[in-house]
């Protein structure tokens, strides 16, 4: 138990170091962007009015002072960490003066809802079918599914998404193709609202599941195909262990470890959103927020999204590291 405790402590320090390095890297990369939020705003104001050049210059100076964009980089870096440590990510520059974290928290539930559901669906179904497909190599249904998965998986995601829009939005228009819920439904814990959210999420979720399913199916099947030839599996079968037990506890459990890491990373990766899904289906979420922030040079918002993403990925890996020794006896804590 003491070993495990030391192990946790070590991993915890590692986590802190990774988070610090990740967010700092995000800070510097964000500040390398040639896009200045001040110029984007000034440009918008100037492009839409005949404003005189000197007034435009005044506006530019005023905004630069307000946003603090004229400070030297090291000062901005220290300011950023000073605020970050007390939980203040600063105001968004794209939607000044709204705090960046408010914007993130507004978009986050949609991304989490959509991605958690679709990742878990594709991961669970893909792994079970993949495990069975690897074990029962002669089953016709599983074989056919394998061929299908191999056929679909290489199709670029945006093509799949676009095909769904065309099929169910145009040729057979039964599904909504934009938005998170219907305009004439009032948000709240009501049947109408939840049904509308689910209805609107079917196409985006289906596009993610169709592509994600193939990946976990093929990965799992390949691993299981190797494991079934191991001596201990043959031994268990010869010893008369029940087939389901062999499949789930001798084979799939052993093949599960890398898949679980993949799952954790996929779940952690949720926090950067799914840009293409959101664009194709006009679905709310973090991806579009991030893209808009990058295009507007909104460094605060980009950093808010990327900080959360860094913490989420590092956190997910940390949790997986902690449970690995418990799941897989071959992993020693020392």
């Amino acid at each position: 138990m003491r070993d495990y405790f030391t192990f946790v402590l070590k991993r915890l320090l590692q986590l802190a170091a990774v988070v610090f390095a990740g967010i700092s890297a995000a800070f510097f990369i964000t500040h390398l962007s040639p896009i200045s939020p001040v110029d984007m705003i000034v440009n918008r104001v100037a492009a839409q009015s005949g404003g005189d050049p000197l007034a435009i210059q005044d506006l530019r100076d005023a905004l630069a002072a307000l946003f603090g964009t004229d400070l030297p980089l090291h000062e901005k870096f220290l300011n950023f960490w000073g605020r970050f440590l007390v939980g203040d990510l600063g105001p968004s520059l794209l939607a000044f003066p709204t705090p960046a974290i408010d914007l993130v928290m507004r978009a986050l539930p949609w991304t989490v809802g959509l991605l958690v559901t679709s990742i878990l669906l594709s991961w669970t179904i893909g792994n079970i079918l993949g495990g069975l497909g690897g074990y029962y190599q002669n089953n016709r249904f599983l074989k056919a599914f394998g061929v299908l998965a191999m056929g679909v998986q290489p199709i670029p995601y945006y093509i799949v998404a676009f095909l769904l829009v065309l099929l169910f939005g145009y040729f057979w228009p039964v599904m909504p193709i934009s938005g998170g819920f219907s305009i004439n439904v009032r948000p709240g814990f009501t049947f109408e609202f939840i049904a509308s959210v689910i209805h609107h999420s079917i196409l985006p979720a289906a596009s993610l599941v169709i592509v994600g399913l193939g990946i976990s199916f093929l990965g799992m099947r390949a691993m299981v195909s190797n494991i079934v030839t191991e001596d201990y599996v043959t031994y268990a079968e010869l010893a008369g262990v029940r087939t389901e037990r062999v499949v789930f506890f001798y084979v799939i459990r052993n093949a599960m470890v890398p898949q679980l890491t993949g799952l954790a990373m996929a779940l952690g990766g949720i926090f950067s959103g799914t840009i293409i899904t959101e664009q194709v289906f006009a679905y709310p979420g973090l991806g579009s927020l991030l893209v808009n922030a990058v295009n507007a040079g909104d460094t605060t918002l980009v950093l808010a999204v990327s900080s959360i993403a860094v913490i989420a990925v590092a956190g997910a890996i940390f949790v997986i590291d902690l449970i690995h020794p418990l799941l897989d006896p071959r992993v020693k804590v020392k």
Binding site: I35, V42, A46, S49, D58, S178, R186, V280, P284
Partner: protein
């Protein structure tokens, strides 16, 4: 098995967290939902991305106007005057909150405005001169307001003489001060004093729900910022728009739909009545597939020419482009027909002169200057040529006719209106003579500068879209003519590259006009040499070509003391056009054509180029509010 259960439990937990968060997100206080009967509802595409801060309606804060084009400035805001980029319902100049046109004193240091009586804010409070005075004083007092700088530069003080008369005292003579309160896309909107004076920091006031002078109020909106529903005010008659009749739709919904294909599908499916813009290809397939879908022109090229002039802009501070003969040679190397085909699939409206070929400009400038252009002589050093080909527009129409057949107009006037009058004929021989006259030499097909260097440069262009295709084609034509030009995409043209002068040549625009009035002050005032900065420094809008000329300064100086709408004003416009042709500091190419579409499935009365050119159909202009008064349900 325990592991498996743990996993399933975690999955369930994660899903619960997700939905709980979702529910929290949904806890936004909205008015009761009513159904939106389709025959009473107009659904409009908002080209902006979903607002990141959908609850923030304070349109005056610089950079915070994310809801602006989602109906806020079209339906709720109002100010003194509007100027239409097209012909308007009753002339292009509308007096909105003002009862009449502006009045200046003799030296343009005072502007007096008489306000319309009987107008009310949407919460029932009467609109008076105090609101105007409050707006100006409040905006001046805080630099975070987008209009602060301009008002501080211009306004010394503002006073209400009585409830309906306001006098602005200006710091310096300015004959165009009224443009601050004249909507062309937008302008400085009047604030409701009774709302904002209650907040300590007016920049922090979210202005939710907004209180406006327009004929609609906010009904409900998406907590994710993708749509806004506006409902007609019961007392719409107490707004300035009422003089043009009752707005048709009871509800107007603005929807952000970032994906072009989805816009097309939504219109075909009857879920969208007006689209802000499509790609040329999407427009062609929309009219092909939806019998109710229309564009600005009844046939090809469909698109609405915006009063914006995409051009090739030379950096006139770069010594490569110092000589006008070189700039002219480069212009004569281009084939406008190919550029039209490459950029807009032929649906471009070409312009050889530095005025966008749109709105009333065709009648004010392009038509009257035809003879001058036809007779225009260019001395190449070896010969004198007439570079202008008045029939390029007709030729492009013939090029697209095999593909688009009957959709292409046959009437010459209609063709010229849609495809442009003419352009400079490609003339490689004359271009060569000009370059040789400027000391350039040719080896094989390659041109060399007087210093013996290979003549070439980089042409920066947009990342995607028609402007990108325009730049790529121009670079290709120059390369074929022996000038080593490379097209390079630049993601930060506006705000960065253009301002810093970080280019040799670039495809963009520095000319945007009122559209509905020949006055050129909207862009031209900023072209005065007093604003030009040193190379490497940031050039404020809009003389990004950094071109200076004594004649240009003379025109601007005179324009500054000339009234709107006078013959003198128009003559100065002609002088400007002639100077730009002589000097060619930029190569004007075409108007920025926007493939705006509307569907007549549920509503009729939309503007079009031929029968009802009363407004710009592009949905994000605040001016588009006049359209709503003309709409009637389709039977």
């Amino acid at each position: 098995m325990r592991t498996w259960k743990t996993l399933m439990a975690s999955a369930a937990l994660a899903a619960m967290v997700g939905s709980a968060a979702l529910a929290q997100n949904a806890a936004v206080d909205l008015p009761p939902i009513t159904e939106f009967p389709r025959e009473q509802t107009l659904i409009v595409h908002n080209p902006d991305n979903p607002a990141a801060n959908p609850d923030f309606f304070n349109i005056w804060v610089a950079g915070a106007g994310q809801v602006q084009a989602g109906g806020l400035h079209q339906l709720m805001m109002d100010t003194l005057w509007y100027i239409d980029p097209n012909e308007g319902l009753d002339g292009s100049l509308y007096s909105s909150l003002a009862e009449d046109q502006w009045e200046y004193n003799d030296d343009f240091t005072e502007m007096t405005v008489r306000l319309r009586e009987g107008l009310y804010w949407s919460d029932g409070v009467e609109f008076t001169a105090d609101d105007v005075v409050y707006t100006v004083e409040t905006l001046k007092s805080n630099p975070a307001f987008g209009a602060a700088a301009g008002l501080n530069r211009n306004v010394e003080s503002v006073e209400a003489i009585d409830d309906y008369t306001v006098v602005f005292h200006l710091n310096e003579p300015n004959s165009r001060f009224h443009s601050t309160f004249t909507v062309r896309w937008n302008a400085t909107w009047i604030m409701p004093r009774h709302i904002f004076e209650q907040s300590e920091d007016p920049t922090a006031n979210a202005f939710n729900p907004p209180v406006g002078l327009g004929p609609y109020t906010l009904h409900s909106y998406d907590p994710n910022g993708a749509w806004y529903v506006w409902e007609k005010r019961e007392d719409w008659e107490r707004t300035s728009l009422a003089q043009y009749g009752e707005p048709g739709p009871q509800y107007i919904i603005y929807r952000s739909i970032p994906n072009v294909d989805n816009r097309l599908i939504e219109m075909v499916n009857g879920n969208l009545d007006m689209i802000h813009d499509l790609t040329p290809e999407a427009m062609f397939s929309l009219v092909d597939q939806d019998e109710n879908a229309r564009g600005w022109f009844p046939g090809f090229p469909y698109a609405h020419p915006d009063p914006t002039l995409p051009s090739i802009i030379f950096n006139n501070q770069n010594e490569l482009f110092e000589d006008r003969r070189v700039r002219w040679a480069l212009a004569l190397m281009l084939d406008a027909r190919q550029i039209s085909m490459a950029s807009y699939r032929g649906a471009a409206t070409l312009s050889p002169i530095a005025i966008p070929p749109t709105g009333t400009h065709l009648a004010d400038y392009h038509q009257p200057l035809q003879d001058w252009l036809i007779d225009y002589e260019l001395d190449t050093g070896s010969s004198v040529i007439n570079p202008y080909d008045p029939d390029i527009g007709l030729q492009v129409a013939e090029m697209v006719r095999p593909q688009f057949g009957d959709a292409v107009p046959t009437d010459e006037t209609e063709i010229r209106q849609a495809f442009g009058y003419g352009w400079w004929a490609q003339n490689l021989e004359a271009a060569g003579e000009l370059l040789e006259d400027a000391g350039f030499t040719r080896q094989g097909n390659d041109w060399y500068t007087p210093d013996g260097e290979r003549f070439g440069f980089t042409l920066k262009t947009a990342e995607t879209g028609v402007i990108n295709r325009f730049g790529t084609m121009a670079a290709q034509q120059w390369s074929q003519a022996g000038v080593a030009v490379t097209a390079e995409v630049d993601p930060v043209i506006f705000g960065t590259t253009l301002n810093l002068g970080d280019f040799e040549a670039i495809t963009s625009w520095t000319i945007e006009s009122w559209g509905g009035d020949p006055d050129l002050s909207f862009f031209l005032d900023s072209w005065h040499s007093e604003f030009i900065v040193e190379p490497g420094e940031r050039q404020p809008a809009r003389n990004f070509q950094r071109f200076e000329h004594p004649e240009l300064d003379r025109i601007i100086d005179e324009l500054r003391v000339t009234e709107f709408g006078t013959q003198e004003n128009l003559e100065l416009g002609y002088d400007f056009v002639r100077l730009m042709v002589d000097e060619m500091p930029i190569i004007p190419m075409m108007s920025y054509n926007v493939f705006a579409a509307y569907s007549e499935q549920y509503w009729t009365g939309f503007p079009d180029a031929v029968e009802r050119p009363y407004a710009n159909p592009v949905t994000n202009w605040a001016n588009s509010r006049y359209i709503f008064t003309q709409l009637e349900p389709a039977q």
